[in-house]
């Protein structure tokens, strides 16, 4: 279907057939076929059973907890990310390179190891927990712990999307505003913020999307109490453990649909950001 099309510009370079063949074969075996298998499995349930599984009380409570904690995690990362991106681009200070390198730690460190470290730090005898728990702030085995685990594993997104935009910002507009008597806050609010906002939004959306599917870090710190600290990914895992395959398939399908919606959203935001960057 591809090789005969006149819309293909092949030029002189070889390798179209073989790379297309390898790519399609690999994508079918590794990505498409497993996805299809789960869609078929879910379809075999029938609409009524699917609906009753995904709207059961326990499932609904996991959506609430997952969305709520992911929202908190995204808020944490949005503020932390904006601060870090700003400081790393605009200021010089000792240890700057070390911090810039350390930012990517959450992507390099296995999520399970992050979870183990976080639960140890925030448990009653932990480095932070011993001070926080007497103050009535419970993090380990509580929803706040889930939010912190999500925030840790998706921390680099906002920083790494805002940083390049902030770097490419030419400072002539800022200087003009300064000459005209604008205060630093006004410059940020009216000049810098509108320029970095699309990137900031894209980073936040990526962070939120990652948080919705997080599992490894959460399983250590959440305590896994139904209706209290049980996220959707965890309920899928529990249903598999109970050999309740229909429930696992239906809930995983919900997660997959949400993931695709988030992928669509982030792609739209990034396309907007690109157009925005080209215009300015």
């Amino acid at each position: 279907m591809f090789s005969k099309s006149s819309r293909i510009r092949k030029g002189v370079l070889p390798g179209f057939g073989i790379t297309m063949g390898v790519t399609l074969l690999y994508m079918v075996i590794i990505v498409a076929l497993p996805l299809l298998a789960m869609v078929l499995k879910t379809a075999s349930l029938g609409w009524a059973e699917f609906w009753s599984i995904v709207t059961s009380d326990r499932a609904l409570s996991t959506y609430r907890i997952t969305l709520g904690t992911a929202a908190i995690a995204t808020l944490i990362n949005a503020s932390f990310g904006l601060l870090l991106a700003w400081v790393l681009v605009r200021y010089e200070f000792p240890g700057k390179r070390l911090i810039d390198g350390l930012i990517d730690l959450p992507f390099a460190l296995p999520t399970a190891i992050a979870g183990l470290a976080l639960v140890t730090v925030f448990s009653r005898n932990g480095w932070f927990g011993q001070y926080l728990e007497p103050m009535g702030i419970k993090i380990a085995y509580a929803p706040l712990g889930i939010a912190i685990a999500m925030a840790f594993t998706s921390a680099p997104f906002v920083i790494r999307t805002v940083q390049p935009v902030l770097e490419d910002l030419s400072d002539d507009v800022e200087q003009a505003a300064q000459t005209l008597g604008a205060r630093p806050w006004q410059i940020f609010r009216h000049i810098i913020w509108p320029m970095i906002f699309p990137a900031f939004l894209a980073g936040s959306a990526l962070s939120f999307a990652r948080s919705l599917g997080e599992f490894g870090a959460i399983v250590f710190i959440s305590g896994n109490l139904p209706f209290k600290t049980e996220v959707t990914s965890l309920l899928v895992f529990i249903r598999l453990d109970e050999f309740d395959y229909p429930s696992a398939a239906a809930l995983a399908m919900v997660m997959l649909i949400v993931a695709f919606l988030m992928l669509l959203t982030t792609n739209l935001i990034q396309a907007w950001q690109l157009r925005y960057a080209e215009r300015s």
Partner: protein, 281 residues
């Protein structure tokens, strides 16, 4: 996706005197990074070595942990080269040719990044498991994939298949194909062109992608915990072993195993730093 290849630049920074706001922001950024990123890292190493090197060594050389280390390394040895070749194929295809569905293909390759590790495990279970699409066929032919080592390879291929491709695609797009076309016109074969013209141009980005791919393969937890069955001493990778030891209340053992992965994460960050510089001149 955020790809973190932004180098810290000095020239954009303001070299003027530091105002109180600037000092406050820097202190907040450094303090929060230390608390949020530094402390979890520190707690891993202090807990792993808290009982001395002897205790650490005894825990790490415990047979099931040793087996988990070996299985994790084996998975990386199998998965990373395959996804490097796949990444090169995809990048060559979408940057050297224009064809209908090209953008769709690029989006499709990125899918595993958007899918939760748990969902990745579940889709493989419903393909190869006894309840799955190929289950009856595999059983009839007495082939077992689920809860074996090959299942770990397959699911790792899934979760890391975009890593190399997404480092190579933007780079090869920018580089263009002039040099390769010249080589072909002058009579070089396709493979000669690839090895003598393309590969030298993309080698650092290729390695960079491979390093990130490796980190994810070695650290994958959710997907492997579903498809491997986490059988002690058989299909238990290192992250699963950490969880198992933690649930056994063997905290020292868990942290000893975790510290090896944390060490690999630090090594990844160092390699990433070096390769980023090389890849971008």
């Amino acid at each position: 996706m955020a790809n973190g290849r932004t180098a810290v630049r000095d020239n954009g920074a303001q070299k003027k005197k530091r105002g109180p706001w600037q000092v406050a922001l820097i202190l907040a950024a450094v303090g929060l990074s230390a608390l949020f990123l530094g402390v979890p890292l520190a707690v891993i190493f202090t807990s792993a070595f808290g009982g001395g090197v002897g205790v650490f060594w005894r825990e790490i050389t415990e047979p099931s942990t040793l087996h988990a280390i070996w299985l994790t390394v084996l998975t990386a040895i199998v998965v990373v080269p395959i996804n490097m070749i796949f990444g090169i194929c995809v990048a060559w295809l979408v940057t050297r040719f224009r064809f209908p569905g090209r953008r769709l293909l690029i989006t499709f390759v990125e899918i595993p990044f958007s899918v939760s590790p748990i969902v990745a495990g579940v889709i493989y279970l419903f393909l190869y498991g006894s309840q799955g699409l190929l289950g009856p066929f595999l059983e009839a032919h007495d082939i077992r994939i689920m809860f074996t080592v090959p299942a770990i390879f397959l699911v790792s291929l899934f979760v890391t298949c975009p890593f190399v491709a997404r480092e190579l695609i933007p780079l090869m797009e920018v580089q263009g194909s002039d040099e390769e076309e010249a080589a072909i016109t002058l009579g070089a074969t396709g493979l000669q062109t690839f090895f003598y013209v393309t590969l030298p141009n993309i080698k650092w980005a290729l390695l960079y992608g491979a390093v990130l791919c490796n980190a994810r393969v070695m650290g994958e937890f959710g997907a492997t915990s579903i498809v491997s069955g986490a059988i002690r001493g058989k299909t238990n990778t290192l992250p699963l072993q950490v969880e198992l030891l933690f649930n056994d209340y063997n905290t020292v053992g868990a942290f000893a195993a975790a510290s090896t992965l944390a060490f690999i994460a630090l090594l990844t960050l160092v390699l990433k730093y070096i390769l980023e510089r090389k890849a971008h001149g």
